[in-house]
Symmetry: C2
Subunit: 574 residues, 2 copies
């Protein structure tokens, strides 16, 4: 049994492919058709956002989906190009200052390859927990700021001007300086498309329902909004020869399936891209796994985060070997897949067939597609990511969390995506360490008629004059060991004569070697002052650890199982 279950763990396809039947096939096919319709314009648009030719977006939507179907654990996650990862790709590859489009594409492919290797290795080493260090506020702030950056970065296509910049100030200055060159026809086309897309999001579905469509059909029609916009504006450009009046179009998109082959062996470029690839990998993984978990919860399925790393790693490697750029699980797309009834990852494989068909047969039709349409698609999609309410929410709950969100948003907008999210993560960790280096310590007393002890400052409790009980509200480790020493010394000198100090350790989950040395110092120093030191409510794992040291022999007082035992033994002494 063992070899099979290990195999199933690393190849989740084995667990569902055996049970595949006609019903599941029908459900998956329907979902695949809907997702394909949604994904064609998205993959073209996100390639544009990443600064890549449109076919690269299509290539990134074929093999990666097949790879995820084999290795991924989510039944409904739809993998492919997504907005935030595309923006990060643009920032990373743009910073390399490459001379040619070919070099730019090669770097994006290399980024996918390195990212795929990183994800796979992290998965094999079971390092999924690392993603936890991206806290919710940091992710929320980062996604919101990225959405704003993306929307502004696409405005140039709506105005028909050129503008550059990976931060909001750069973008705004660049946009403002080129604004006089705006093309009015492009602007009209872009504005109309934007208006239409917003309307299909908000107004179309209720309208369709009112005129009698079934909810499913109404939903499909709504999701087809971008495809309709693509078709209509392409026809408009073709029919009215708008491209001759300065409307930027997609132009020739190579027809055919992507060329398959390992990316060029460029270790220098790979090592140069390593840190960026790590950041993109972790962010892509966090986004993807939270989508997968949200959807899995609805059907009581389980997501294995470490296997997800392998699934996404395989997808990115598949993307790189087929000329694509970094991919991950997309939120909107996966929700559509789920709502459309996808039952297994086979739906993703069928979607891949659909996109392959588009690459084979539809690319000539894309010649007259205006870039402004794709930009409008992106803007409408990403504005749903922007949610500044996280700032208010965090402010109300905790100033520390607020600091993390605000810094992430400010630095992402001001200095770009890589700096923003790195600073957010480092700040979260630094603030956490700072807080735990200055733990809350409460002096506690007995709540009358119970065996329960609470803070003397917050509750009416009994105390004894010769006895001080300090409850330390933090694990004791190197960062706060000295703090505890100072606190205890300060507490025992400025009071009436004490005979006993109890450290109540109910919240102490660990005592490391630094902290052990500090407690030993406290014990010695208090003994010199004629004060006994006791411990109470020491947890099992901590007690096991203390038994490995000589501390318990040297301790001047006792270790009590419960604080109430310490109170009973010590309070009545004088």
């Amino acid at each position: 049994m063992r070899p099979l279950s290990t195999l199933t763990r690393y190849l989740p396809i084995l667990s569902w492919a055996r049970l595949y039947d006609r019903d599941t096939f029908g459900a998956d096919m329907l979902a695949a058709v809907i997702v394909t319709i949604m994904l064609i314009p998205q993959s073209l648009a996100y390639a544009l956002l990443a600064g890549l030719p449109p076919e690269v977006g299509l290539y990134a939507s074929i093999l990666p989906l097949v790879a995820y179907a084999i290795f991924g654990t989510s039944r409904v996650l739809a993998v492919g190009p997504v907005a935030v990862v595309s923006l990060m790709t643009a920032a990373v590859v743009g910073n390399l200052d490459l001379p040619t489009v070919e070099a730019y594409i090669a770097a994006a492919v290399a980024l996918a390859f390195v990212s795929g290797l990183i994800l796979t290795v992290m998965g094999i080493l079971r390092l999924g927990f690392l993603a936890n260090f991206l806290s919710h506020p940091v992710i929320a702030g980062f996604i919101t700021a990225s959405g704003i950056l993306i929307a502004f970065s696409q405005l140039k296509h709506i105005f028909g001007i050129s503008a550059h910049g990976h931060s909001l100030p750069d973008l705004l200055i660049s946009l403002a300086s080129h604004l006089p060159e705006a093309n009015l026809i492009t602007l009209t086309l872009g504005a109309l498309t934007l208006g239409f897309l917003f309307w299909t999001r908000k107004g179309l579905k209720p309208l369709l329902l009112r005129i009698g469509l079934t909810p499913t059909l109404a939903e499909i029609a709504t999701k087809a909004g971008p495809v309709a916009a693509v078709a209509a504006t392409t026809l408009a450009v073709w029919g009215l020869d708008l491209h001759l009046q300065g409307v930027a179009i997609v132009g020739t998109v190579p027809t055919g399936l992507p060329p398959i082959g390992l990316p060029a062996f460029t270790p220098d470029l790979w090592s140069q891209l390593f840190m960026s690839a790590l950041l993109i990998s972790v962010i892509g993984f966090v986004e993807s796994v939270s989508v997968a978990q949200t959807l899995a919860a609805k059907t009581r399925q389980r997501i294995d985060p470490n296997q997800e790393l392998i699934g996404l790693g395989a997808s990115n490697i598949a993307s790189a070997v087929s000329g694509g750029y970094p991919v991950t699980g997309g939120f909107a797309r996966s929700v559509v897949n789920f709502d459309a009834g996808a039952k297994t990852p086979a739906a993703g494989a069928f979607t891949a067939i659909g996109i392959a068909g588009a690459a084979l047969f539809l690319t000539p039709l894309l010649f007259f597609l205006p870039k402004a349409t794709l930009a409008a698609t992106i803007i409408v999609a990403v504005l749903s990511l922007v949610d500044l309410s996280i700032l208010r929410h965090a402010w109300g709950y905790s100033k520390v969390d607020f600091a993390a969100v605000a810094t992430t948003i400010a630095l992402t907008l001001g200095l770009g995506v890589e700096v923003g999210v790195s600073a957010g993560v480092l700040l979260s960790i630094a603030l956490h360490l700072y807080k735990s280096s200055r733990p809350h310590v409460a002096e506690v007393g007995l709540v009358p008629d119970t065996q329960h002890f609470r803070n003397v400052l917050r509750h009416k409790v009994q105390t004894a004059p010769h006895l001080v009980t300090l409850r330390i509200d933090e694990s004791l480790f190197f960062a706060n060991a000295r703090f505890l020493e100072d606190y205890v010394y300060d507490r025992v000198v400025c009071d009436e004569p004490l005979s006993d100090v109890v450290l109540m350790c109910s919240a102490v989950n660990e005592i490391d070697l630094s902290a052990l040395e500090s407690i030993e110092a406290i014990n010695t120093r208090l003994a010199e002052m004629g004060i006994r030191l006791h411990l109470s409510e020491v947890k099992g794992p901590v007690m096991d650890r203390l038994r490995c040291s000589h501390f318990l022999d040297a301790l001047s007082g006792e270790v009590y199982l419960a604080q109430y035992d310490a109170w009973t033994a010590l309070a009545p002494v004088r």
Copy 2:
């Protein structure tokens, strides 16, 4: 009163100078004489270790002592050149590959200046707590490895060969390849000096006591061992013309007080040195403050770590403006100062006068001083720093602490001081974060006949089949929020039908926004499964925070003050 007390805080001299009297003066003078005798060879030797001319060591032992007397809070700390900081200076300045001795000195002076500014600013901003992130195991490992490195780096002077390297492998290879060039006269001189110095450490004092000297005199005579070695070997070289036979000597040492003046304005160099200066500052500060605290504890005095930063910062700036290199409080020297009866920092100022006298009158006598003697002084001094028992100690107590020590020692020896200590600090933080990302969670039950709850796996306790109580032994924050979700879901699915889950929060000292969202998710998901979620023993500060959110309205169960209340209310339900 306020302005005066603020002034006294920043100028501790004001608090003791007013009370200065003849007795204190006498005690301080005696201590100063002993420390001066000890410091003259030490300052020459440590300058050699730092790769600097001997007079730089003297210069670093004059003004810095005066500055510390004004700004420092320890009554007995003896500031000046020390072994570890000298080694780090050699590593940092050596890496700059400077063409001339003048440029090398200028860089060491700049290092002292930047380090002084960093320490002062940290003191003013009250960042002394940052030093806590150097855990005891990391410091212990670093000091031990530095001692080994220093001893090996000085062997070249004992053998009379040239050898270079800032890591143990480099040093050993370099020593081995130059060994055939060893000068036998130098080696004899060096070996004799080493033997003599070891004997004065171990054998001289008991001998002197046996022949009837008072303990104080015996102590002074022992401490004068290095001075005797310096005098004897200098005379030997002079009398026997050993320098003509290849014994390396100190040579011309400029006579006179150090030139006073701001160091050259070289912002490029300063920013290049910044990270190294930060590392040297923090390590010097940690060493110094722990010496100061150990000695202060013996006389019930208090050390203010933030004012210590200012005191050491002033000392380093004073060193830089008088042509010296980075200084800090030395362990052996401070203990001697304390044992010799120093009562106030004035003893340090008197020592400075002694060293100034040496710089004015003794330097011609140093011409024939063999470098091998200084090297022997260093080797004997630093071998007392080497204590590999920390490895065994840490192994017995905790594998995590052992990993930190072992890594610090291995990397310091293998890759040099900067890499070693940085890796130790980062590893300590990473291991701490890793541990807190996978907290201990215990299922608890009632200890019979008490109101106390303990782990069901470790104690005989009462439980109820429909009720699970989980005690989370860690604050809940971004790094472990998802872990808790997974843990609770796993626990509730694989068991007989539950109606209530209690999270016992006695060890939860904080719930950040990420964790709040996870608990909200747990609450929602359990509610869908028909299970109520309760909290118990939520601490005051955490409860305050929860009241700021909407969580308490959404909570399906109750918040109980004590776990016993939760038990009483929920256990008998069915």
